[in-house]
Subunit: 148 residues, 8 copies
């Protein structure tokens, strides 16, 4: 049995690569999917496909449509969603993706530093599991497959 | 035909009262519901019901459970969700409620100042309608009932 | 028991009024809902609410959002959808509303002149009932309530 | 991860072949499905299977049943639906298939020339992405799989 | 709290009236709905609405569409479905309505004489409750409202 | 806005009456529903309706069908489920009803003494809110309606 | 792309083998599933697994449970359901399986001789396609895969 | 065709291994999944992943979250759920898992000794099949695949 795990959250460092490498070492039968991690491309994808837009608002709107398509398709395929929150990137978008997962009945693993407890308390309460580190998230995934 | 509209978003000023009063003047057949607007009570409701908790984290967790119960029950009853975002209160929780509405197939009316376009672009793209003022949101609701 | 019936299709003549008046004469316990029938207002509603838009494409987009909100909310409330097609107004939008009804598991009553059989054959096959006149559609609705 | 994409819209030229060939060149892990593209066979399939029908209306009805079976089965299997609209073939059926996709919660990519903006404005608003060319649609699909 | 109960099964005697009268005596807060009980009208409703059809097969098809519309709308509204089977009228249609109810997650009360146990064994196993008389069915309904 | 609350759990004392009386004093707009509270009648309802059964296993089976019908119908109507667990009555049936509520996406309020924490830990984790007393459960319900 | 097709209906002759052999010759990528075709085993499976039952009614009930388990699991996996009706075996069970398929939103292909038109008219109207022979049903399946 | 079967119930002896070995001998195409069977690890998994918790209640809560994640993910993947109840381990949790399966529309095979009939009567009535031994459960699974 294989699982698909969507990795929501900030795209400003390579936490997804770290997680994938460690999962790979443990030989977990998991396919990880997620948003475009090249931040510039993610912002420009609307114009990349449709050509230059009249203003930045329409540029953003075009990009959002492409990014939301990707998220919808890949999250729909997923068995579990992991959402990472950090001090630095307080994006509404990450909270939206995490809440979508819950409403779509996908179990959510929330990763956040302890200090962010208060602003994330409602989302944490909706999550199936809340942990503080990527290693803990991976450990949680691994537990699903352990027999002993 | 009556509609139920859930009012998500910040609870730091009385925008809900403004909206309700204007809807009342227009005699729109709408029942408005939403979160507890007394901010202190919302933060303390866990301890109010369960008694003092060992620490602030558990106090927050207890409050979140009560508040999330309220949101689940009332949003489930709703036909439309309005979510207000402002410069001052950049809560993940509002984004989570707005995204839950979309995932639950409730049409979302997003209210936000134009300056917040960029950080809310994905959520705006998921909304059925995005407007900038409460009056515009009300106008949008009224249009559903107009015959001419 | 009351039923709610959504009246999809062209808004260029007063077929909805005819249907409602006849249903009223027969005292059928039905509430009829539908799109804005004032065609100009329907086209301008985006600018009416949001103010002037940069160009006609964005004007149309804004209006579509408001009109689609109305359709989503009212069709969701409905028990049955009637869609009228005529020689004169061959709108893709009417076909889209009719197909949405079917996909949402709302029984569809299709009204179209016999001559339009060929272009509407797939939609007719998806409909629960296809008739040729408004009187026949009304007769079909009345039959649901008849005891003898 | 493989995706299945349903190609709705006119069957009068070989746009599907163009799209498939280009996807194949890019080695996208996509299976494309869609309606019978042999137009005559599509029109005659009812009689091909059931034998001659009493009149053209019943011939059409029989064919519609077979074609709708195919569409239901294949669209249900799909992750994304692409619908192409052009100046020449203004079929209600294409609009119906596109709207079915939206109502079934399949992300819709609408392809249409800019000039068709107005008559397709509601459908475009329901689509996840609207583009003007087949190349742009393919680019949009490819973006879902890109990592950088 | 009111319940709606759909009465499926043969329309050749007045068992529905018997059941309704007894429920009325007991003042149960139940609205009963069901198919057209005038057998001739049920068979002719297609031609009554659409005019004479070319042959009896098309007459039957037209009538089935009208009758199935009625069943779909009313069964969808129901909280419980009662299906009566008797020695005399072994209709596939009654079995189909009973099975539809189960698949739509409506609790089914099956009423059949003991002798029909064998041919109805699978349907009985799918039913929530199987009884032998109309009085027992009514007693079962009444139990839902009893407090002591 | 009215809510319907299903009261699951043991039927050996009158905790439901206590809760209803207090809700009535507070004038909460809630309709409470639940299982037959007359324990003997609940055990005998199968034979009461169907007549004497061949043995106690079949007597139990018949009663279970009637009781499960009642639970299905009333829980389906409910907005919230409260399940009470006590030291004395460790029924699998109460756990089953509580878990059904969760799986049906009904928010669950679990009421149990602190000492029962360990055996109920998984169910408590699935509940939206866990409290220790009936008064706390009522307080939680009341909070949904409070405006200040 | 592979499809799974459930073959409902009588188990008194080897129509399923005929269909499977022909599909195999045509190399259609279809897996066929269906009920136990050994009629005696189907009737005795309850006692085969659970041991002798007190009477024939309980023997039947036990068998129905096992057979209904099989049908539920396999029909749930299916993309299409074919139901065969013939003059000889007028089983309520076949009608129930066919109607379940429709209610579960599985496209139904009904196979019946023309003479059975009248008693099957409602079921035929619910089916996606009605044909008269097994060859026609196979032809219909094959059409889903044809490209020209 | 492969099936996935979730094995719910007590984790105090190796009944799952027995079942798996026998299924393996019969070469049934079934993948079995289930909870962590190492009881100590199951109780300690919260602290294993998150580190020491302030008290045993929070230790239990943390463990429940991890175990419930595993159950949600694996049960969602399953086609059938088997739940074993025995004299020794009367866990509410097993009843909760069994009832979740039913509410999620997964066919439930209940395994329990005859003596436990009374306390499990409601759950047994909800199950698709109730048997007394693991061999009978396996026999029931095998029957789904038998052709003769």
């Amino acid at each position: 049995m294989e699982l698909i795990v969507y990795l929501a959250g900030q795209i400003h460092d390579d936490w997804r690569k770290t997680l994938k490498d460690k999962a790979s070492e443990k030989k977990l039968p998991i396919t990880f999917v997620g948003p475009m991690e090249n931040h510039d491309r993610s912002d420009n994808i609307g114009e990349e496909i449709l050509g230059q837009q009249p203003n930045t608002i329409l540029k953003d709107e075009a990009a959002s449509k492409m990014n939301n398509l990707r998220t919808r398709v890949l999250m729909e395929k997923s068995d579990i969603v992991i959402a990472l929150f950090g001090e630095k990137y307080k994006q509404w978008n990450s909270a939206a993706d995490a809440a979508s997962a819950v409403a779509l009945n996908k179990p959510l693993i929330l990763v956040r530093p302890a200090e962010l407890h208060h602003p994330l308390k409602e989302l944490s309460e909706k999550a199936q599991v809340t942990v503080e580190t990527i290693d803990q998230a991976l450990h949680t995934l691994a537990y699903i497959f352990d027999n002993d």
